[in-house]
């Protein structure tokens, strides 16, 4: 049971690293070396973060990435949503099909209320808050 997948985790590591650089331009190559994340995988992750405007890509030679928001404003939930889709922990067990079980679905209601708490807690985690921990 994994709340956070590997790409979210890698993305967070990269974002924390970038935040530590205080606005310095950082290349994917540098982060691959520093963070020991598979190259092609990290590249794709950074591209996705770029598309969602979490970081600002700078193209061409001497290019790289910078955060496009202050680290306080990047929340774990934002990152999770990019890589893991909806945060519904209470996702219907028969996703995508017409659920044949609504009537007998005793569990969902219970889980929905737990979910609210979890999402709130996750939302409270920002890159900045992880940063203070990192030093």
């Amino acid at each position: 049971m994994k709340l956070v997948t590997r790409d979210t985790d890698y993305a967070v590591r990269a974002l924390v690293y970038m935040a530590q650089q205080r606005g310095r331009l950082v290349t994917s190559r540098e982060m691959v070396d520093e963070l020991r994340i598979p190259r092609a995988f990290l590249r794709r992750i950074l591209q996705q973060l770029g598309r969602h405007a979490v970081l600002k890509p700078i193209k061409g030679k001497m290019g790289g990435f910078v955060l496009s928001l202050p680290a306080e404003k990047i929340r774990l939930t934002d990152v999770m949503r990019i890589f893991q889709g909806s945060l519904e922990i209470s996702e219907c067990m028969f996703k995508k099909q017409v659920c044949p079980n609504r009537a007998r679905c005793f569990l969902r209601k219970r889980i929905v209320s737990i979910e609210a708490y979890v999402v709130n807690q996750l939302r409270a985690i920002s890159i900045a808050s992880l940063l203070t921990e990192a030093r």
Copy 2:
């Protein structure tokens, strides 16, 4: 992000159904018909519940299953553990490998504390408590 997998869900439905029968012997065939769960799948699920002593199998013609515990004592977490293994929501992103990232793992600590709450909430859900909802 699914907190509960399909087999756990099926198991819970079956257990709730059995609880409703107040000790009457129930066959897998009957539950397949009532609950619309794929036959072979439900059979295997019941076997697993039997192995873990959640229900008592009665072999031979006229056989079937009965709960081996009062419905109040069967907790969702028990069922989840059978079908989903550990309840660690904070499972290391690099499970099974020697984690190459402990030093940079900022997230795990945070998630561990969320996990404690979630597991407590789930533990409070018993088959009996779902039963009252079911009517």
